[in-house]
Amino acid sequence: MRTHNLLICLAVFILGGWQLAFAQAARGERILARCEEAYAGIEDYTVDLAATINMERVQIPEMKATLYFKRPDRIHVKSGNFALLPRAGLAMPVTALTARYTAAFEATDSIEGKEVYRLILMARNPQAPVQSMTIWVDPSNHTIVQTTSSPYRGRSVTVKIRHALQEGRFWLPERMTAVFTTTLPDTIDEANDLFAAKPQLQEFRRPPRNGSMEIRYSNYRLNTGLSDELFKTNPE
């Protein structure tokens, strides 16, 4: 009898846990779908970018570029001069996220005094470069306000996005900050380095740097009918 009761309790526990996990996943997918709906009216947009980098041993003046975005996730960037832009969070095409990741609701957090939902995204493709990431969604306007991911070993990237209402309908990024941290130590000693005469050789051996990049978005032009031709050449 006692064994029988124990088995029933175990079954209830497993079933309850499974149901909870299922509910969390369904809630996560629903939240992400709401984010996608919020951008449903945007077919394409063009926006001017001004980027500043604050990274150890890197000095680059403010970079200006123009970003072109077209559904579902096509991006093209043009710049008169040299510019480097973060791979993470530059344009946040939610359609690409839902296609690439499954979402599970994890908890409710607070960012800058606002209640936000924390979701865990898992890559649908086991070969995807970023297998998992955490995103925070602002339920008031269904925008992704923060993400953290580890694109490769020893690197963590946190992206914070502030949105502004465009054309009275769409919440699009106004300012984005990407913070890069590394756990790998820099072992290069420039003072006593045989390669000191060739400083570029040291750069080959550098581990990824710590630092941040801030991008300001301005002058959005929405749904101008960007040609597919524009996206034939990628930024790289």
Binding site: L84, Q202, F204, P208
Partner: protein
């Protein structure tokens, strides 16, 4: 004989010699060779140097351009340019002894000091013309082959200078490089004052340069303590212009050291020359 005429005569003598153009010829061969090779290689070099960025960023445009190549060339050649300069500077006084024309030169009704000055100024003129030629030719060809753009500098990390902020830096850098090479020319001229064969001053100048450059990079407290006092530590003064912000006080200090070194060696050469017992 006026000083100007004396100077013109010395310049003519120097610039009519074939060996004076040996350095120019080498530059005319080496610079296009390096720049064409870099053009063929394309941006692979800069791409590899910035490899650690590629995982986090994507690049718009390229930092591989004429300015970058001209800067790399300037970085590489400044070690070899002293040799080419000492070819001519080391021959100024010793060449007269080798040719047996010292006595002929000194029997003219001109003081030894004025002859010394004319020869020394000719040496400096050669060094400055040579460095200017290198600058104009290497920058001109690099810009012609690879165009302009922002300049990527590797110095304690990565620095990108906007294209609009680069030309003046190169112009000033070559002026400072001219100042550095004038010091090398003075040292070769000094060695030239007490030997009778031009090979000696060339070898001696390069010997001093190599020894001091090695001492300058040796680890250890003792070597670190003497490093700021070696003129070789200041030869790359022009590199300071490719920094942001430019440390002008450091540049002025280096220029003063190089200037002081030149004055000391020129004064020593003069003292030797005016007292020299001419036997040829």
């Amino acid at each position: 004989m006026s000083m100007i005429r004396l100077l013109c005569a010395e310049c003519m003598k120097t610039f009519l010699k074939k060996r004076t153009y040996l350095g120019f010829l080498i530059i005319l061969v080496v610079v296009p060779l390096v720049e064409i090779a870099m053009k063929i290689e394309g941006g692979r070099f800069t791409e590899a140097s910035l490899r650690s960025f590629h995982q986090d960023f994507f690049f718009i445009g390229s930092l591989f351009n004429g300015w970058f190549v001209a800067h790399q060339l300037m970085n590489s050649l400044w070690v070899h340019i002293p040799l080419l300069i000492s070819f001519v500077a080391g021959d100024q006084l010793a060449g007269e002894a080798t040719a047996g024309t010292y006595r002929l030169l000194l029997i003219r009704p001109v003081s030894r000091t004025r002859i010394f000055l004319a020869k020394y100024l000719t040496t400096l003129a050669y060094a400055i013309i040579f460095v200017s030629f290198l600058g104009v030719f290497s920058i001109g060809l690099a810009l012609l082959l690879m165009g302009t753009g922002d300049l990527l500098v590797f110095r304690g990390g990565i620095l990108v200078l906007p294209a609009s902020d680069v030309a003046w830096r190169f112009f000033a850098a070559y002026i400072l490089a001219g100042w550095s090479m004038a010091t090398i020319a003075t040292i070769a001229f000094f060695f030239s004052s007490f030997v009778e064969n031009a090979i000696g001053p060339i070898v001696a100048t390069m010997g001093v340069l190599i020894v001091l450059l090695i001492v300058g990079v040796l680890p250890g407290e003792y070597f670190e303590a003497i490093r700021p006092y070696l003129f070789t530590s200041h030869l790359n003064v022009w590199m300071g212009l490719f920094a942001e912000p430019v440390d002008w006080s450091d540049i002025v200090r280096s220029l003063a050291w190089l200037g002081g070194t030149s004055v000391v060696f020129a004064a020593a050469a003069w003292a030797i020359f005016v007292r020299k017992d001419i036997l040829t």
